[in-house]
Point group: C5
Chain length 85, copies 5
Amino acid sequence: MIKATVTGRIWSTKKLREMPAGSILEVQVEGTSSTMLAFDPLSCGIGEKVIVATGSVAASWFPGKAPPVDALIVGLIDETLNPNA
Amino acid sequence: MIKATVTGRIWSTKKLREMPAGSILEVQVEGTSSTMLAFDPLSCGIGEKVIVATGSVAASWFPGKAPPVDALIVGLIDETLNPNA
Amino acid sequence: MIKATVTGRIWSTKKLREMPAGSILEVQVEGTSSTMLAFDPLSCGIGEKVIVATGSVAASWFPGKAPPVDALIVGLIDETLNPNA
Amino acid sequence: MIKATVTGRIWSTKKLREMPAGSILEVQVEGTSSTMLAFDPLSCGIGEKVIVATGSVAASWFPGKAPPVDALIVGLIDETLNPNA
Amino acid sequence: MIKATVTGRIWSTKKLREMPAGSILEVQVEGTSSTMLAFDPLSCGIGEKVIVATGSVAASWFPGKAPPVDALIVGLIDETLNPNA
């Protein structure tokens, strides 16, 4: 999984009808300038640190037929214990 | 998923017969100089910002036997709300 | 698989209920400054060198329905024999 | 998918018996110095520009049990229309 | 697939019992300083050039239930014909 920070929210009105209802957030991968888009079932806010799972495991989480979604926020991060940082 | 901008269109006459009919677009991944090719079911135009899903979830979207397609445009982006940008 | 060093531990109280109980560790990919998060079934400690498997094979390891977990620590590294290093 | 140029051909006599008969080509990913190896069902030549699909969708293309092949040339590129290039 | 050179061998005594018996090698991806770990069913030696398949196709190669292995050496490279190199 990836540790990332929520940086934005995407609006898309023209999309595949198989896309699930709900938010798609822009997140920045920690320690990089890379961003990616992830489906958010946890109602995250801008600035929150999150755990993102990617690939087919993200799609398989949805009930019923797997939608074309390859990134899913699976948790909010309360804290990272990093004794060397 | 990846946020990208449509930059071109690919013509391919010699291809596997399992490739679905339709457009393959060249897109540039936002914030980078990397490009990739994605199947476009949404009739996107050059310059439009899109959401691209990659990997096996792209192939699974197609009806019937999954074709060898690993990138799919799943939505057009109207707007990104990014309060810190 | 990836060779990595355990660098931290993640606390997450708000998460998907499909996430398995257990530790999520932060690991640094050897030879890089990149970090990733991996589920730890082996009770690893900070500073230990580990083997991480990624993608759907990580999720498939879990009994029952595959959870949205895309990285799994599959072994601790005792030693690397590298005659040229 | 990836846009790439065929740069070489691989000879391998000692290989898994599950590897399909046929050519494995070395291709260079466009716009980078990265190379990868892809199975070629289209009899491509050195210097040709191709579309490469990667991941499990490449393996699923083969009839019968999926072989351990994660990259497949799915088309030759005739032309790219890129009005801004 | 990836073209790589075998650079080392990993010893791991504490590992998941689902890990298959056999060697895990460290390989360096050609043209880069990146290394990865791959399961070796071909008894490769240090310094040999190999073809590595990654992702779920590596796990699916194993008989029975797929183990959490995401990289597999599928062939040794005898030679690369690269007329422009």
